[in-house]
């Protein structure tokens, strides 16, 4: 019934699969040629510049602007500026999925039957007629022949009937499931992607050092997203190689809820913070103009125990800060290639004469005032750019990937090989028949059968 249904036939056909795959392969190119996710005026300029590069010289301006205008309209009409989530691209993916589902339902029952079929039922003539079947005389009896086959890895069963005795063994029959595992793995990956799309989010949060932020902004559409906690940035720093290339960007991040610290971690590129399914990635950074972080540490003795007290301050350029009896601030800044190298720092404790001097950026320096030693660090203040993402679909996507690799291995490298050994009991003089079939590598398999026969014949009593 299914077979005669034209809709079923359409969706189960490999023609459709080829057409869809070709369509996907070709249309996917578009998004690599047209930049994605830009504003309308960007496309106007983009198309204008692209076409203009073909026409050097004057006189084409009107044509160029007309072209740029219609190309931009066309782009927006077909969502080419966001084509991988456009209705038509998603439709292709839906079509592929339907195709896979129907194709699987259509073929799987047959494959399952093939895996489980009773191979002793085969008619002797059809065994003897198999490609590569060998008719031979053995000097040993049937059971010894079976033992030789066993010894060469063919373990199976014997069925004794009145007319014939038959031995059957098979290998790799589950390999027939490989193709199905591959096809289903694609559906599993798609479901994972769908779950991530429906229930996850991807957002960006900019957190200046020593401040907290409660809102992240989605990467698509820039919608505000309230987080259940504050993200606090304790520190942001860049480490450099000797040649000046950045080696690592790192941020110390705390999640804080109702004044309570939930977790604190130093994150870096390739080393995010994970908290209850939400992940915080080091994505970007920005200096906060004219703003600095000053860190004081002082060793104090409290009832014989040594302790270090550390305090952080946000200092604006040339704005004095008061703390207990102390006041301090930043007088001047030395920059090299837009990077702050040194800050001129002043520091006054009570009525003592103030201390003044250049400090290397982000390097702790010991400053002694009035007989007391302080460790002072002055650094450019940064805002760390975090990607805040939650994707509950990832485990399913990974499961799909694993299934695909296992399935591909089974589909490509496991061959369902079957052998039959047949003896005609009505005519003992007739030769034995060793026949087999393989779902792959058929020619080498016929050689394997011949080898087996030679091994049997080499056995003499």
């Amino acid at each position: 019934m299914k077979k005669n249904n034209p809709v079923w036939h359409f969706f189960s056909s490999v023609h459709l699969a080829l057409t869809t795959l070709i369509a996907l392969a070709i249309t996917s190119i578009i998004g690599t040629l047209i930049p994605q996710g830009e504003a309308a005026d960007y496309y106007y300029r983009f198309f204008g510049n692209s076409i203009a590069s073909f026409f050097s010289g004057q006189g084409h301006n009107e044509f160029i602007s007309k072209f740029a205008e219609s190309a931009t309209t066309f782009t927006q009409l077909l969502d080419l500026d966001d084509m991988y989530s456009s209705w038509w691209y998603l439709s292709l993916l839906v079509l592929l999925s339907l195709n896979l589902i129907v194709c699987t339902l259509d073929r799987f029952p047959l494959t399952w039957k093939l895996i489980h079929q009773d191979n002793f039922k085969l008619h002797s003539d059809s065994i003897a007629a198999k490609q590569g079947a060998v008719h031979f005389k053995a000097s040993v009896n049937f059971d010894t022949t079976v033992k030789i086959l066993n010894k060469h890895g063919w373990k199976g069963g014997v069925c004794r009937e009145e007319e014939r005795t038959i031995f059957f063994a098979q290998k790799g029959r589950w390999g027939r499931l490989g193709v199905y595992i591959v096809h289903i793995s694609i559906l599993v990956i798609f479901s994972g992607a769908l779950i991530g799309w429906l229930t996850g989010f991807k957002a960006t949060a900019w957190v200046p050092e020593l401040e907290s932020v409660h809102t992240a902004y989605t990467q698509k559409g820039n919608f505000p997203l309230q987080l259940p906690y504050d993200i606090h940035c304790n520190y942001f720093g860049i480490k450099y190689y000797d040649n000046g290339m950045p080696k690592e960007y790192e941020s110390s991040i705390s999640l804080v809820q109702d004044q309570k610290e939930l977790t604190t971690q130093m994150i870096e590129v390739n080393g995010p913070l994970k908290y209850e399914g939400t992940t915080f990635y080091q994505a970007s950074y920005q200096p906060v103009p004219n703003s600095f972080v000053i860190t004081f540490s002082q060793d104090v003795e409290d009832k014989g125990e040594k302790q270090t007290i550390t305090e952080h301050f946000i200092a604006d350029y040339q704005q004095p800060i008061k703390w207990n009896d102390m006041s301090f601030g930043i007088l001047r800044v030395l920059r090299f290639q837009n990077k702050v190298k040194q800050e001129k720092f002043w520091f006054k404790n009570g009525d003592a004469t103030p201390w003044e001097g250049w400090l290397d950026n982000n390097v702790p320096t010991t400053v002694t005032v009035d007989g007391k030693a302080f460790s002072v660090t002055v650094k450019q203040r940064f805002s760390t750019g975090l990607q805040v993402a939650k994707d509950p679909g990832v485990p399913l996507v990974y499961l799909g990937c694993l299934m695909m690799l296992v399935g591909l291995y089974m589909a490509f490298f496991m061959s369902h090989r079957r052998i039959w050994l047949l003896q005609d009991n009505t005519d003992k003089k007739k030769s034995l028949v060793l026949a087999g079939s393989a779902s792959k590598n058929k020619i080498p398999f016929t050689h394997e059968l011949k080898d087996l026969v030679e091994k049997i014949q080499a056995q003499t009593r």
Partner: protein, 273 residues
Amino acid sequence: MDSSTLIGISTFTFLFATLLYGINLMYNKLGRIATTTTAIALLIQTTGIVLRWIESYQIGIGHAPLTNMYESIVFFAWTIVLLQLLVEWRFKTRVSGTLNLALATIALAWASNSGSVQMAISPLIPALQSNWLVSHVITCFIGYAAFAMAAAFGLLYLLRSKGILTDRLPELNILDELNHKTMVFGFIWLTAGIITGSVWANSAWGTYWSWDSKEVWSLITWFFYAIILHARFTRGWSGMRIATLSMAGLAVVMFTYFGVNFWLSGLHSYGAS
């Protein structure tokens, strides 16, 4: 001796082996010598790669030599030659040697002499500092090399069916089979390459797929070979059509490898330097 000297020596030895394979293909002579020369050259190149690894530690930026365009080409050549030896061992035929060694030689010569490929060992930018980088590069390049191999068998099929070298090349159906086998091998590794790339992207940026141009082109390549496999398996295509498609496939692979870096922009454009 430093790593670039060794890689230079291996390049010349590959060139020599290309000629030997050529003689073997034409006159059925010197086959063993061609294989031995190739094995020695591969050993020299392996030493060179390991040495480059050690050198990167000596200058204090230690990382596996798989991180820029130059290093990737060296590894690509290495993989092709290794696959050539594996195919010889597994399928007992040397016919693809000339084409594969020529490709390895050209790739190495271009990488060492083209001004657009930087040879110096450079430190890793933060985004590349991940263990997934190594598994990603290795899996992708085994895939690429296998597709190059498939294309070589495709070309040999074409030659033989045009009546060239008929007495020296294997039967058409055997060439077709070899083409299919190497393509299937490449398909698995390309799949693994796309997967390791996604896992890495997810651990570094929180997105396993961001439709960056390199990702899209690797997906296009993957579709391309999936189409060939289906056409073969379910529509019974073989022979000339598959041979031609496997050569076109190599063009798609090469665009994914180089073209994207030079003409399109995206996350992976570091490779252009």
